[in-house]
């Protein structure tokens, strides 16, 4: 009967979500075991927090690229906003608050400011389409990075001092403390991030993104992606929902930034240029546009890959580039897909489904 098919759809979606959470938890447990048995190299151990950062960034970007169907090349800009605002907060608060509370506050600050930036940028920009949107988001990312480079902020007994020229122009009292030092960035941020917190934040991101997709708002976002004109014809305010997806995505990128900045003693803007935005986009596309689980896995593998290729020394980035091109051709070229289908259909366990868009 009717209800059976509805139940089937519901159960399938629930199962799909749970599997995603499960993958993360299994990954966590395996890594913990490897660490405790001393089987994880120190280089890879050092990569664990960055891996979490990129997983969150990739999953959140997928909300824009895969679910909302808009190309954004400015994701690093939002990570930058989250990283800077939260590091700033942690530095100002210092030891006035207990560490846990301060870090939670830092995460919220990073998310809120990045989300606000997303909203602010999204309002004018989302009118543009396709590659134009891509280039404007790239431009915004670079602007954020550039502006952060000329901001100097310090604090003393009289309060905050801000300058856009140099540290000297802050006119701090001798007891005052410089917090943001222009291109030198922020140093002395407490190292609150660790792998466990990273994994918790990944789960939180997945919770938000997966549930959003599977809800009234998510359907509206995807409807606007599939056919804007039809979506408007059934009364969906397309721009509003595109903006929603964009802002949520920016806020989550901000969380990734928080995790990043609280993992490093010194933070500067170099890490947040368009190359990082592109890197995150590579995770999303390689993992399958719209496929949340795929972008997660691609982020883990591609972040760890250069380390694992370290034995190739100078050739590793070259190999990385070739692997990227070959994987794209293999995954996307119609000829390669046909060939794969043909080979798979000849195998004894029968035809497998062609690689395509997965639903959640």
């Amino acid at each position: 009967m009717n209800t059976d098919i509805v139940k089937k759809i519901k159960n399938r979606r629930l199962r799909s979500k749970l599997i995603t959470y499960l993958i993360v938890i299994v990954f966590y447990v395996v890594v913990q075991i490897l660490i405790n048995t001393g089987n994880l190299s120190s280089l890879l151990t050092g990569l664990l927090v960055p891996i979490c950062v990129y997983v969150i960034a990739a999953v959140s970007l997928n909300l824009v690229v895969g679910i909302s169907g808009e190309l954004s090349l400015g994701h690093a800009g939002f990570m930058c906003v989250g990283a800077y605002t939260s590091a700033f907060l942690s530095n100002v608060v210092g030891s006035a608050l207990p560490e846990t509370l301060r870090f939670i506050l830092a995460i919220l600050t990073g998310a809120v400011f990045a989300g606000l930036f997303g909203l602010l940028i999204g309002i004018p920009v989302l009118r543009l389409k396709g590659d134009y949107l891509a280039i404007v988001t790239l431009a915004f990312g670079e602007i954020i990075k550039n502006l952060m480079n000329v901001v100097y902020v310090g604090i003393d007994s009289k309060g905050l001092h801000v300058s856009t020229t140099s540290a000297m122009d802050l006119h701090l009292e001798p007891t005052g403390k410089q917090i943001i030092k222009g291109a030198l960035g922020i140093s002395g941020t407490p190292k609150n991030s660790n792998f466990t917190i990273g994994v918790i934040l990944i789960l939180l991101t997945l919770f938000i993104v997966q549930n959003l997709i599977d809800s009234r708002s998510g359907r509206a976002v995807m409807a606007a992606r599939d056919n804007r004109i039809a979506a408007e014809s059934i009364g969906i305010p397309v721009t509003k929902f595109k903006l929603l997806a964009f802002a949520v995505s920016a806020a989550l990128a901000g969380v990734a930034g928080v995790l990043y900045s609280h993992n490093l003693a010194t933070l500067n803007t170099k890490k947040f240029d368009y190359n990082t935005s592109i890197l995150v986009l590579v995770f999303v596309v390689l993992g399958g546009i719209g496929n949340i689980r795929g972008s997660m896995i691609a982020a883990v593998i591609l972040t760890a890959l250069p380390e694992m290729l370290r034995f190739l020394s100078n050739y590793r980035m070259l190999i990385y580039a070739i692997v990227l091109i070959v994987m794209m051709l293999f995954n996307w070229a119609p000829a390669a897909r046909e060939w794969r289908e043909r080979v798979l259909s000849r195998l004894p366990f029968g035809r497998r489904k062609a690689v395509g868009k997965e639903e959640v």
């Binding site: 404007v136 431009a139 670079e142 550039n146 368009y274 980035m317 070739i322």
Partner: protein
């Protein structure tokens, strides 16, 4: 330094952007793809010229011709191997990411061959500089050649696109690829030709860029490539005069911003102006506005 000097520097840098942007706008208009590797072809062109002059001891002009040939072959090969198989992939993102892969590849090959340190570039222009206003404005030979090259290239390209059979085929392919195919136009050949021209222009741009800013590194082309695309968007994608004007405006804004506001935020100003232009006129200064038919 005076305003005029800055303006001259801006026009000179802008002319380089314009030449790159011409290649970008043609490729984008016809293949409908953001070729992220275009900037790196510039870098390849610059290294080839440098090698031809310093290692092979060739005459600069010959070196430039060889670089153009090398970049043409490179551009066509990239298109054939990496982009063409993905043309019917269904997602423009697939080819975008592949282009990024190609960009990494070129950068890393250069890194392995020449190292990360900048190589000092040899100015290939041996023209004397021009002094105006009793020395108030000195225009170097490089600048003169750059601006002249820009004008000549623009005129030749316009004539080529408007007057020749291949040029008209390009217009047809950019308008409607399927219809062009039905009319018997060799679409693959036309796109190949576009990459060839764009890459040859990139080689010229590489030489001029490195003559003015005489250091070449594996990453030399990346930022100018992005800025040239910004210039192309600025002027309206697909438009030859648009790319030229967009490039020059971009160069002028960048140099003036650097001189009068702050060198650190010059790029931010460039990108800020781009955003404003696009918000006011979403299809760029000379772009066509296309609306979806319901």
């Amino acid at each position: 330094m005076s305003f005029l000097t800055y303006l001259k520097d801006g026009i000179s840098l802008g002319s380089v952007y314009a030449i790159i942007a011409l290649g970008y706008t043609m490729v984008y208009g016809i293949a409908k793809m953001l070729n992220f590797a275009h900037g790196d072809v510039i870098m390849v062109g610059a290294y080839v010229v440098l090698m031809m002059i310093t290692r092979a001891g060739l005459h600069p002009l010959l070196a430039v011709l060889i670089a153009m040939a090398a970049c043409t072959v490179l551009g066509m090969t990239i298109e054939m191997v990496a982009y063409r198989p993905l043309r019917k992939a269904g997602s423009p993102l697939a080819v975008l990411i592949t282009a990024i892969g190609v960009s990494y590849l070129l950068q890393n090959i250069a890194l392995l061959m020449f190292g990360a340190d900048g190589k000092t570039f040899i100015n290939v222009v041996s023209l004397p500089s021009l002094s105006l206003f009793d020395g108030g404005l000195v225009i170097s030979g490089t600048t003169i050649v750059t601006i002249l090259a820009n004008i000549i290239i623009m005129i030749c390209l316009t004539l080529f696109v408007k007057k020749t059979k291949q040029g008209r085929a390009m217009q047809a392919v950019s308008e409607d690829r399927d219809a062009a195919q039905l009319m018997g136009i060799n679409v693959n050949g036309t796109i190949s030709l576009t990459f060839a021209i764009g890459s040859a222009l990139a080689a010229i741009a590489g030489v001029l860029l490195c003559s003015a800013y005489p250091v070449v590194t594996p990453y030399t082309g990346a930022m100018p490539g992005i800025k040239a695309f910004v210039a192309a968007v600025f002027g309206g994608i697909g438009s030859i005069p648009g790319a030229m004007l967009g490039g020059i405006l971009l160069g002028v804004i960048e140099i003036l911003g650097r001189a009068y506001i702050s060198s650190q935020v010059a790029d931010a100003i460039v990108f800020g102006v781009l955003i404003i232009v696009l918000l006011v006129k979403p299809s760029g200064l000379f772009g066509k506005n296309v609306q979806e038919k319901v």
